[in-house]
């Protein structure tokens, strides 16, 4: 309830004719809404944990991820190897950290690629209108109909899977939803007075898109980013599980699970459950954040 009294205080100052206080921006309100959502905070904490775990973890927990050691194969968790060792004698905890690096890098980079393509495509389509808009949206329909995983697998097989190639391929086939969202926003925005004003002032299409339309459509894009990251991490795990993932010395979580699944009957649970839990927790954290962002951006749901 403090925010209401704060607002009243600001209004009071304005009535007094003193210094005019800054009215809280939509972004600030959204941030406050977001941080009051318990699941969002948990999701954010889990995500930060996995970023630190994957990128800072190896600096603290040193393991040899380059040389196989055949005397140390499939050891159960112990003091020396907290998560045990895998089929090549690599320390499983260190391996999970390495897989986390790949998952997060590909997840965020693929989402970036998808968002950039989608935003530009959607904004251009919405601004152009008419037949160009219809044609550009049919292209989106075509990309939506292409079975995503199939094409990603075909390209991964042909070009070899690296962090860069997987990100580009996954991002290159995941931009349709942001394109639709941004187009929808632009269709309403372009009728607004400030866009007319900018046009009157002689702004070209690129300036309209980059300075006026995209910044104002950013809300829907930001909500979509987290879902994009989550979907990309799942996609990488599928590619890896089917055996077309990253090559040694790199590793991804799906690849690790696939290796572990060979030993299901031997009871080597440490090769499966820690990695699986990492995938589930990371994706779930991103989904929590995405849901909360969507609620926070939705003015109708905002508490006043």
């Amino acid at each position: 309830m403090t925010d209401i009294s704060g607002g009243a205080f600001e209004m009071q100052r304005m009535h007094d004719g003193g210094e005019v206080g800054a009215i809280q921006s939509g972004w600030r309100l959204a941030l406050r809404e977001f941080s009051s959502n318990r699941l969002a905070v948990i999701g954010f904490a889990i995500l930060i944990f996995f970023v630190l775990f994957s990128f800072v973890g190896p600096l603290i927990y040193h393991t040899n991820q380059l040389d196989t050691s055949l005397t140390q194969v499939n050891l159960a968790p112990s003091g020396a190897h907290l998560f045990g060792t895998d089929t090549n004698g690599f320390d499983e905890l260190g391996r999970v950290m390495k897989g986390g690096q790949a998952a997060l890098e590909i997840g965020f980079f693929a989402a970036f690629v998808a968002i950039v393509i989608g935003t530009l495509w959607g904004a251009a389509s919405g601004l152009a209108g008419g037949i160009v808009d219809s044609a550009m949206m049919r292209v989106v329909d075509i990309f939506l109909s292409v079975p995503f995983l199939f094409v990603v697998l075909i390209l991964a097989v042909k070009f070899g899977a690296t962090v860069l190639s997987l990100s580009l391929v996954i991002g290159g086939f995941a931009w349709q939803v942001p394109a639709r969202l941004v187009r929808g926003e632009v269709l309403t925005l372009r009728e607004r007075d400030f866009v007319l004003a900018a046009r009157t002032a002689g702004a070209g299409s690129w300036r309209l898109i980059s300075r006026h339309l995209i910044p104002n459509a950013l809300g829907v894009v930001i909500v979509n980013v987290t879902f994009q990251v989550a979907d990309a991490i799942l996609a990488v795990s599928y590619v890896g599980f089917l055996g077309f993932g990253l090559h040694f010395p790199n590793v991804d979580w799906g690849d690790q699970l696939s290796d572990g699944s060979q030993y299901l009957q031997d009871g080597y649970w440490w090769l499966i459950y820690p990695v699986g839990a990492c995938i589930v927790l990371t994706v779930m954290a991103l989904n929590f954040i995405g849901d909360a962002l969507r609620d926070a951006m939705d003015v109708r749901l905002r508490r006043r």
């Binding site: 292409v146 199939f150 094409v151 075909i154 299901l264 699986g276 994706v283 989904n287």
Partner: protein, 315 residues
């Protein structure tokens, strides 16, 4: 309504044509010719050129595309050199099995998710709702192969109730009857959809519960049971039709994963082996078939919804 359906049909045809051009060009750019697979690694460039020439692989892409589409319209899906069989024969051998696996999983997913979502909306924030929501969140974030591995571990190895491998029989009737081997693959595929469907049903039901006609129904003294069955269920489950249409790409992907995990001889596994053997006529035909299925599925869902929902039908 008719003009809407006609427009919808025309766009679908445009999308199918566009998708076929796109997928053909993409695969053609990656694998211009199967000559290497046919003639082997020791073939000389001159031999490969000669083979390409005699089989039409040196024609312009446009010619090759129209030849391929012409073949498709006559039921010729290409020839798999690695299997030494026509793609049509490979597909027709497996399509019923894959359709059964995906179809029954979809039906089971809907049968579980519909009542679950409605129950959650009616008893919102109860313990049952919270448990179901948490389970849906976890399942929704879980790769299907991890779910499959857990099911195998618990229900096939620790408690040997089911088989950890799908049945290898080629007879559809044996496949349908063999619950011992088919339960785990079916539920692996179904449970992933249950998560998405039940979340959607819950929010759709909550929207309906807030509508005035529910208030009217309650105000006029209709028993709660009838409010739910007559007014809530019918209105809330309509959008499920669209959702099922939209879930087809995920179902195809899930089918690929599940068939690979349980070694079920369906189309997904065929596609998986074609990736390993670089058997691109199979890749091309299956990707294309998947895309057409997605377009047709969405079209059918839209038509069904238009016919079923008077608000759309009469608009």
């Amino acid at each position: 309504m008719v003009s809407y359906l006609v427009r919808r049909l025309v766009t679908s045809i445009i999308v199918v044509v566009g998708v076929s051009i796109f997928i053909f060009l993409l695969l053609h750019a990656i694998y211009p010719s199967p000559a290497r697979q046919v003639l082997g690694l020791s073939a000389r460039p001159a031999q490969i050129d000669a083979w390409n020439k005699s089989n039409g692989y040196d024609d312009p892409v446009v010619v090759q595309y129209f030849r391929y589409v012409g073949g498709l319209l006559h039921g010729n899906l290409g020839f798999s050199y690695t299997n030494n069989q026509t793609v049509f024969a490979l597909f027709s051998e497996r399509v019923a099995r894959s359709a059964y696996l995906s179809g029954i999983s979809l039906v089971i997913a809907v049968i579980i998710a519909l009542p679950l979502g409605i129950f959650q909306a009616v008893k919102r924030n109860s313990i049952g709702d919270n448990v179901a929501t948490s389970a849906a969140f976890i399942l929704y974030s879980m790769p299907s192969f991890f779910l499959g591995l857990i099911l195998i571990q618990v229900l096939a190895i620790s408690l040997p109730v089911f088989n950890f491998e799908a049945t290898q029989s080629t007879s559809l009737w044996v496949v349908i009857g063999d619950w011992h081997s088919m339960t785990l693959p079916i539920f692996t595929l179904a449970l992933i959809s249950v998560a998405a469907f039940s979340r959607y049903m819950r929010s759709a039901s909550m929207d309906v519960l807030a509508q005035d006609y529910i208030k009217v129904a309650r105000a006029k003294g209709l028993p709660e049971r009838l409010v739910l069955t007559r007014h809530l269920v019918r209105n809330a489950s309509l959008p499920m039709v669209t959702l099922i249409g939209l879930s087809l790409p995920a179902l195809l992907a899930g089918n690929l994963i599940t068939e690979s995990l349980f070694n079920f001889q369906g189309l997904g596994l065929l596609f998986f082996t074609s990736l390993q053997k670089v058997d691109y006529p199979v890749m091309l035909a299956y990707t294309l078939a998947g895309a057409v299925l997605v377009v047709v599925g969405n079209l059918v869902a839209d038509i069904a919804l238009t016919v079923a929902d008077p608000r759309i039908r009469l608009a």
